[in-house]
Symmetry: C2
Subunit: 393 residues, 2 copies
C-alpha cells in the first residue's frame, strides 16, 4: 500500500481536530466515538463505501484519531486517512452481520487496550449507523465509562468551511450548472424518466474536463405532475408528459462536497399555478437572500421568505434550508443549522447552506433553490443557473 491520497493538508486536519477537542472539553468529554461517515471523513480523510458495517473514528484526549473498521476496509483506511498504521484498527470478518458477535465488543476492547475506558465518552446517539445494539454492546463492554450524547458535536464544527473546502464547494457548483444545462437540453415529452435520470448522472459524474464528479448523498429526485406532491419519490420508466411540471432535486458533488440546487421544468405552456409558484418563490428568495449576511440568524432568512409566501396565502410549515458540505448517503444536510423559526444560529463568513424553498402542494410540486455561501459582507450563490421556471415547448 503506502500511497496516501489526502484531500486536505495535514494542517487542515490538525485544525479540525483542535476544534473538535475544544468542543469536547466544553462538554467535559474525554474520548469521542464518531459514527457518522461524514464526520469520520472530515476528521481523518477516511473515504469508502463501507458504512454498511459498523465502524468508527475515536478521538482520544490526545494524539491522532483512531480509525476502527472491518478488516477488508483497513487497506482503504491506510490509503485515505492521514493517521499512521498504528492508529488503524480492524476487526475480523466473522463479526460482520453476525447474530452472535458484535463489532462493538471489539471497539470496547480497543478502548480498554488504549486506556480510554474511563471518564466521559461521547457517542453520536442519534447518528444513522449508531444502532441501539451498537450502544448496548459498547455499554456492556465499558462498565467504567460514563457515556454522554455527542450527536452533531462534530457536525457543528463543520459549519464554517475552510478556504480549501470552499474551493471544493465551488467545483461542485460548476458540476450542478452542467447538470441543469443537460436537463434542459435533453428533456422532452415522450422521453422515459429513467433515460433523463441517466443523463443527470452522466453530467454529475463526468463533471468537467478539468475534474470529475462524485456520487451524491441522495439520488436525483424528479417527480412530475401530481406525483411531485410526494417530494422523495425517485424515478420510474414512464414517459415525460406534456403540460406537466417536473422538479429536479439534485446536487453537484466534488470529492464528497455537495452543492445542491433544484430547478423545475415545465413541458408545454405553464399553468397559472406554476407561474405563481415561480413568482412567489423568486420574491421570497430575494427577501431571504437580502438578509443573509454575517450577524443575521438562520431564522431571519426563513422569516423573510415565509412572510412573502404568506402574503400569497401560502403557509410553509417545513424548514426552508439547512447547512451543507461534505456528505455521505443518505443525506447531504449537515444536521446542524436549519433555516426555520427558532433557529438562532448566527451567520458567519464561510457558512454554506441549501436555501431549500420547495413547495409540495396537494397535486403539484415546485422547487427553485440555491446553495449559498456567507461572505464577509453578505452572501454569494455558489452556482450560476438562471433562477426561474424553465419552460420547454
Amino acid at each position: 500500500m503506502g500511497t496516501k491520497t489526502l484531500n486536505f493538508s495535514l494542517d487542515e486536519y490538525a485544525e479540525r481536530l483542535r476544534k473538535t477537542r475544544t468542543a469536547m472539553e466544553k462538554r467535559g468529554i474525554d474520548t469521542l466515538i464518531v459514527s457518522d461517515p461524514a464526520n469520520m471523513h472530515w476528521l481523518t480523510g477516511y473515504d469508502g463505501w463501507s458504512f454498511y458495517v459498523h465502524q468508527a473514528v475515536i478521538v482520544p484526549p490526545s494524539g491522532d484519531p483512531i480509525w476502527f473498521g472491518r478488516g477488508i476496509d483497513a487497506a482503504g483506511a491506510t490509503r485515505t486517512c492521514y493517521v499512521e498504521s498504528e492508529n488503524i484498527a480492524s476487526y475480523p470478518d466473522h463479526y460482520v452481520h453476525s447474530s452472535e458477535r458484535h463489532p462493538m465488543e471489539l471497539l470496547g476492547k480497543l478502548l480498554v487496550e488504549r486506556k480510554l475506558d474511563k471518564g466521559v465518552v461521547g457517542v453520536e446517539k442519534d447518528a444513522y449507523w449508531f444502532s441501539a445494539a451498537a450502544y448496548e454492546t459498547l455499554m456492556a463492554g465499558l462498565p467504567n465509562v460514563k457515556f454522554t450524547d455527542a450527536t452533531v458535536l462534530v457536525n457543528w464544527q463543520r459549519l464554517v468551511k475552510s478556504p480549501a473546502e470552499i474551493v471544493f464547494m465551488r467545483k461542485a457548483a460548476r458540476i450542478i450548472e452542467l447538470m441543469h444545462e443537460r436537463i434542459y437540453e435533453k428533456i422532452e415529452p415522450g422521453m422515459r424518466k429513467c433515460d433523463l435520470a441517466a443523463e443527470i448522472y452522466d453530467a454529475a459524474i463526468r463533471g468537467t474536463p478539468e475534474f470529475g464528479g462524485d456520487y451524491p448523498a441522495l439520488v436525483p429526485l424528479l417527480p412530475s405532475g401530481a406525483e411531485a406532491a410526494a417530494c422523495h419519490l425517485t424515478w420510474d420508466d414512464q414517459p415525460m408528459r406534456n403540460n406537466e411540471g417536473t422538479f429536479f432535486e439534485i446536487a453537484g458533488v466534488y470529492r464528497r462536497y455537495h452543492c445542491p440546487m433544484s430547478r423545475t421544468v415545465y413541458l408545454g405552456k405553464p399553468s397559472e399555478t406554476f407561474l405563481n409558484a415561480e413568482k412567489m418563490t423568486w420574491e421570497g428568495m430575494e427577501a431571504g437572500l437580502a438578509v443573509a449576511k454575517p450577524g443575521a440568524t438562520a431564522e431571519d432568512i426563513s422569516i423573510a421568505f415565509c412572510d412573502v409566501l404568506e402574503r400569497y396565502g401560502i403557509k410553509k410549515e417545513n424548514r426552508v434550508g439547512y447547512s451543507v458540505g461534505c456528505a455521505y448517503p443518505p443525506d447531504w444536510g449537515e444536521h446542524t443549522m436549519s433555516l426555520r423559526r427558532g433557529d438562532k444560529t448566527e451567520l458567519q463568513p464561510g457558512m454554506t447552506f441549501h436555501f431549500m424553498t420547495g413547495l409540495w402542494m396537494e397535486d403539484w410540486g415546485f422547487e427553485m433553490t440555491e446553495t449559498v455561501l456567507i461572505t464577509e459582507t453578505g452572501m454569494e450563490c455558489l452556482a450560476n443557473v438562471p433562477r426561474q421556471l424553465f419552460v420547454k415547448n
Copy 2:
C-alpha cells in the same frame, strides 16, 4: 393523490404479512416496529428516499401495517403503500433533526393511541436507522412495553423469493448484462475513471428498451491496480492505465431488486497473478455451484470454494456470499444467510444469493462473481456474462 402504484399484488403483500406474523408469534412478539427501509418496502410497498429521517412500519397483532414517517413523505406513502390512509401516520417537520424533539416520542404516542403500548414489542436493534437515541426515546414513552430484539426477523422472511420477485430479479439480471457489456466496450487506457463510472450508471439506469433501471444500494466500486486491495474505494478522475487490472463490483437493479455481479478487466497483457486468480476463482466457483442445490447448506458452498483456494495456497477469511433481493442504500445484502463456515442455513428453491468470491490481496484485487437462484433441482446463475477475466489490449 389517490393513484397507487403497487409493484406486487395485494395477495402477495398479505402473504408477506402472514409470514411475518408467524415469525412474530414464534418469538412471542405482539407488535413489531420495522425500521429497515427494505423491510418497510417489502411489507407495505413503501418506496422513497426518505430514510434520512426517522420512520417505521408498525406490524400490529392484527389488521394492516401502519406507516409512520415525516409529514412531507405521507404523500409518497399514500402513493406507494397498499395500506389505506387511516394507516398512514405522520409527524410535523419541527421534529426533523431537532435537538429538543425526537420523532420516536410521537411513534410512542401512536402506539398508545392504537392500544399497542403493551405486551412484547420487537424492534430492529441493529438496523441502520434505528439509532440508540430512537430506542431510548421509544422506551421512555412506552413504560408498559417489554422490548425485544427483532433485528433481521423480517429479513429472514425475505430469504425465499416469490415467483413475482424472481421476475424482478431476472429483469435486474438483464440490466447487469448490459452494464458489463458497456464496460468492456468503453474501457481503454487514458479514459478517466469518472467517465467510465458515468457509462456504468448510464447502462444501469437506462436499462433495456422494455424497462428502465433503478438506483443501486451501493455505488459502483471500480478500484484499479494496487488500490484494488482496498475493496470499497469509489472512483476518482484519474486515467485508466495499461497493465492494470480493475474490478467492477456493480449490480443491475429493477424496482429495488438487485442482481449483483462483478467482473475484472485487465488492460494489456495480463500478469500471471491475474491469470492465476481467474483460474482458481473459476475452479472454486465450479466447485461451489456444483453443491448449490436444495438440501445443501450455505456453508457447503463456502467450504467447496475455499477448499479449492486453499489448494492454491490462498486462505480466504471472509465470507464468500450472502442473500440478496430488494434493497436500499447502503447495502444490497439481506443480512441473513452468509456463505461461510458455520452458516447451516438450508438452501431452498427461490433463494437468491450473491456468490461473492472476491480476492483482495496485498497489492491487487480480483472479482468474478455470480448471483445464483436455487431451483427445484439445483441452481441457476441469473445473469449471463462470460465467467472470465476480461482482457483488452
